[in-house]
């Protein structure tokens, strides 16, 4: 019997995305994606048949092609474009780019998706054209993403999702999703998750939101999220809690962005992270203005109206946390100095310059949990109410 099985498994020869056939309607993004892919392929075919060596144009993804405009509020990719001409050296890259685009089109048509890792494995059926390392397929995907971003499409529109899923959500929010098979609306009430929480999916483009919350509190650590959720801080504060778990994933950032813009007037977003250069210059900065080396996607993912609630360097003094602090490490100091000297976002914000300078001077960093020094629930009974009552103490 085992022998019989083995025979059966010999069947598949060529990769074919065999998803459930699509039941849902094509979204605008879907139509746009198919259009962009078709347009690109068509142009290439035409050029070849006119005996012209085809080319692909990508935005330059270097820091030199990144701008920060205080008014826009996030790192933007510039107009710099690089052309990749078909040549002996680029033919492999061309083939892989086009094949990944073909897979993308097929996934849209089947309403399917692939993680970056899966896309890498899909190529294993391409013979000589396959990727040898996931870094190779990631890099080609970054190119396609950059190309599509020019047309207002994100990688998620292309149906390539990152491996990492999003953070957790609880509070004054109902999320409206749709059952993939029946098309029925699914309403998820985030006040009714108990001690658990709603976990953000890979892609959030299709979600709709119903909320009257006053603000969204994005929280660095799972531990702090757990405390605020179990004590139903969202009820007292009339807010939505989102856990980032370190530097927020694309899905979490996009979720916060879409959620905060789901009402005519944007919902305020307050970040509550550790008072250290990593919390400030990596976690908060990424949430708010995105990152310089992925500038082509920031327009989808960053939350330019986010504000920094705390912990601020001044909080350490105001809440007497000095003896629950740790010394800044070399890497911290380097990161802080780098922010002051090279980061256009911090450089454009005098308040941040002052705060970071203050941190460097005292040489101290404090975690969110340091507030537990004054009692486990000091954070929700004292700290957050006092901070929320004085928004002037926030940093931009």
């Amino acid at each position: 019997m085992a022998a019989k099985k083995r025979k059966k498994s010999a069947a598949p020869k060529r990769m074919k995305v065999q998803a459930h056939s699509r039941t849902t309607e094509f979204t605008d993004a879907d139509l746009k994606t198919v259009e962009v892919i078709d347009k690109t392929a068509k142009r290439i075919e035409k050029e070849i048949n006119r005996r012209i060596l085809p080319e692909l144009k990508f935005p330059v993804r270097a820091l030199s092609n990144v701008t920060y405009d205080k008014k826009v509020g996030y790192f933007q990719i510039g107009t710099g474009t690089k052309s990749r001409h078909m040549s002996v050296n680029t033919v492999k890259n061309f083939a892989q780019t086009l094949r990944l685009m073909a897979v993308s089109k097929e996934m849209v048509e089947n309403d399917d998706f692939a993680t970056k890792r899966e896309a890498y494995y899909v190529s294993k059926n391409w013979g000589e054209c396959k990727f040898n390392e996931q870094t190779e397929s990631d890099s080609v995907m970054d190119d396609i993403e950059a190309l599509a971003s020019r047309e207002g499409l994100s990688r998620e529109s292309l149906r390539y999702y990152p491996e990492e899923h999003g953070g957790r959500v609880a509070g004054q929010l109902t999320i409206v999703d749709r059952d993939k098979r029946s098309g029925e609306a699914l309403r998820i009430d985030c006040t009714r998750m108990g001690t658990g929480a709603y976990s953000v999916p890979h892609s959030v483009e299709h979600l709709e939101f119903e909320t009257k919350a006053k603000f969204i509190l994005v929280i660095e650590t799972g531990g702090m999220f757990g405390r605020l959720n179990e004590h139903e801080f969202w009820a007292d504060g009339d807010c939505i809690l989102v856990e980032m778990g370190g530097v927020p994933t694309r899905a979490t950032r996009r979720f916060v962005r879409r959620l905060s813009e789901s009402r005519p007037r944007k919902i305020p977003v307050y970040a509550f992270v550790d008072c250290d250069p990593y919390g400030i210059a990596n976690i908060y900065r990424t949430l708010k203005v995105g990152s310089g080396n992925a500038a082509h996607i920031n327009k989808f993912f960053c939350v330019p109206h986010a504000e920094y609630l705390g912990v601020t360097p001044q909080d350490i003094i105001d809440f007497k946390l000095e003896d629950a602090c740790h010394e800044l490490q070399k890497v911290d100091i380097k990161r802080a100095k780098d922010a002051l000297k090279n980061d256009p976002f911090f450089m454009s914000q005098p308040k941040w310059k002052k705060a970071i300078t203050q941190m460097l001077k005292t040489g101290m960093r404090a975690e969110q949990q340091a507030l537990a020094k004054w009692g486990l629930n000091f954070v929700l009974e004292e700290y957050l109410p006092r901070k929320l009552a004085d928004k002037a103490s926030f940093l931009p």
């Binding site: 075919e45 033919v91 061309f94 086009l98 094949r99």
Partner: protein, 569 residues
């Protein structure tokens, strides 16, 4: 006895009652002076034999073979004979070996055999400024002395100076106390050679293969001396023959006078005192090389201090000599003549490398002569690059993993693997250097050369990584070794510079070879690239645009054609 000292001695007694002996031993200056004695050179080196390379049984055997072979080669070349040598090693007891070296050289008149083999610091080459292998007149006598010390056995020398002359066998030892030979027997014997010398020494020794072995030494000797035929019988093995591939002897070298640059002040003063010249001008022209009337006049004018062309050399005061010395250092003087140095030459280096090393490409460069501390010298370098049988890595068919080939004897296969440091062959006056590589100027010169610019990998401060043998030869009338055991070249600035220049010449040629190889490989890769990937562009376009197979094939054929054509420009 001065009062002060007595006082001290009393103190001494008071403070160390346990050592009353301390007072009883005073000696006077006269008593002490009377005990001063001369020390014989043999005694000195017997006690300090590690200075001469006889520190261990393993190294001693190598040193002895080297000294004998070097002497034979020098003698053959001086006599204009194309050398044919035989080296035999026989194990005579657990820790004992007998070394037999025989040559077809001019032989030694039997009246001289004793001094040559039985007296340290006796030789023909020390006082000459000309290139030879042996230099100090110590080597072979020291080997005999070591044999005698460790086995008690005398050495045996046979020599014959011509067809009609007697072959004489002498058995002898060295009297170390007086540094004089002691002859045990002298016999006329039958010998089936027209002329030549044979030396036999038995000694405590150990024999081993490897990079520092006698085998390696002889192989390297064969590389640096392509005119030499050498028969070698390792202990318990068959004879192997390194056959010559040229009969051209190295050009004869001539003696030269010292070059003015680098003659120290003290030496200059001594020369002024000893000269037979009767004018300063004459002194400069006669006692130095490369000094003509014009140069001499310039020097004297620059020196000032009352010196004129006619100053009487022996009457020049020290202050004036000092000024003269300064002026000499400043003067522009051409490099010393090169006819005192015999380079191997680029052609013969390549022949030598080809003869003994399998490689893909051979390169050589001989630099013009230069000078350090008044001694002319000359650097030449050679490279054997690539491994015709592959670079020592092969792929395991089952696992797909890269595995290293089994190691072969380094003497058999000198070129290392692609991921190993280049191997060095160092030579001084055609003599291989096998020890103390890291202390040697040649090693430093190679490390100090930027091999990356020739397309090789080179970790910081290390030898380049490549399947490559680097050959460097310093020829000089006086090779500056770091120690008397002649293992490493001292790093004089001038020498280091010349080594680097020679390597740079080789490196440039190697670089263009490597670039060419890479170009060929790239060209091949590109062709197969096109054939591999264009079909996939077809598949992708077909999938996206829903083309028919015919449409698809037309597009891919067109693309292939256009792409191939584009490469012509």
């Amino acid at each position: 006895m001065p009062a002060k000292d007595t006082l001290f001695e009393e103190d001494a007694i008071a403070s160390s009652k346990k050592k009353p002996a301390a007072t009883a031993r005073r000696k006077t200056a006269d008593q002490m002076a009377a005990k001063q004695r001369d020390i014989s050179v043999s005694e000195f080196f017997t006690k300090n034999r590690h200075l001469l390379g006889f520190d261990s049984p393993l190294k001693s055997l190598l040193t002895a073979v080297k000294e004998a072979v070097d002497n034979s080669l020098d003698a053959c070349e001086e006599a204009g004979i194309v050398p044919e040598l035989s080296v035999i090693l026989e194990q005579t007891a657990e820790k004992r070996f007998k070394m037999i070296v025989e040559d077809n050289g001019p032989g030694i008149p039997d009246t001289h055999i004793g001094k040559i083999f039985g007296k340290l610091l006796h030789g023909s080459k020390f006082h000459k400024l000309s290139q030879s292998r042996g230099q100090q007149g110590i080597g072979i006598s020291a080997a005999g002395m070591y044999g005698q010390l460790t086995t008690g056995k005398p050495m045996r020398v046979i020599s014959k100076t011509g067809k009609r002359k007697d072959a004489v066998e002498i058995v002898m030892t060295i009297d170390t106390a007086s540094n004089k030979p002691e002859q045990h027997s002298r016999e006329v014997i039958e010998w089936d050679k027209d002329h030549g010398t044979r030396i036999e020494i038995e000694m405590e020794a150990r024999y081993q293969k490897g990079m520092r072995s006698i085998d390696m030494y002889l192989k390297q000797t064969a590389i640096a001396n392509p005119h030499l035929t050498l028969r070698y019988t390792a202990p318990g093995e068959e004879e192997v023959v390194y056959a010559r591939n040229t009969t051209v002897l190295p050009p004869e070298t001539v003696e030269i006078k010292p070059h003015p640059h680098g003659v120290e002040l003290g030496r200059l003063i001594a020369m002024l005192k000893d000269t037979s010249s009767r004018s300063l001008q004459g002194f400069l022209q006669e006692e130095f090389c490369r000094v003509g009337p014009k140069v001499a006049k310039n020097i004297i004018a620059a020196a000032g201090g009352g010196l004129t062309e006619k100053s009487y050399p022996t009457r020049i005061a020290r202050d004036a000599a000092n000024k003269l010395h300064d002026a000499i250092q400043e003067a522009k003087i051409s490099s010393p003549p090169t006819n005192c140095i015999a380079p191997i030459g680029e052609e013969l280096i390549i022949k030598g490398l080809k003869k003994e090393i399998d490689a893909d490409v051979y390169i050589a460069a001989t630099r013009p002569a230069s000078v350090y501390r008044g001694n002319p010298f000359l650097i030449e370098a050679g490279i054997a690059y690539g491994k015709p049988g592959g670079v020592g890595l092969e792929v395991d068919e089952e696992s797909g993993r890269i595995k290293k080939k089994a190691k072969v004897d380094v003497t058999e296969d000198l070129v290392g693997a692609a991921d190993e440091p280049a191997r060095l062959l160092r030579f001084a006056n055609r003599v291989p250097l096998q020890y103390q590589q890291s202390a040697c100027a040649i090693n430093k010169g190679i490390i100090g050369t930027n091999w990356k610019s020739y397309g090789l990998t080179q970790p910081r401060g290390s030898l380049p990584i490549a399947p490559m043998v680097i050959f460097v030869h310093i020829a000089s009338v006086w090779v500056p070794f770091t120690s008397e055991s002649k293992e490493a070249i001292a790093s004089y600035e001038e020498i280091l510079k010349e080594i680097k220049l020679a390597l740079r010449e080789c490196g440039r040629k190697l670089g263009s070879h490597i670039r060419k190889q890479k170009r060929i490989k790239r060209e091949h890769d590109k062709r197969s690239h096109i054939e591999k990937y264009i079909p996939h562009i077809g598949i992708a376009l077909q999938e996206i645009l829903g083309m028919s197979d015919t449409e698809r094939d037309f597009t891919t054929d067109t693309l292939e054609d256009v792409l191939h054509k584009s490469r012509k420009f």
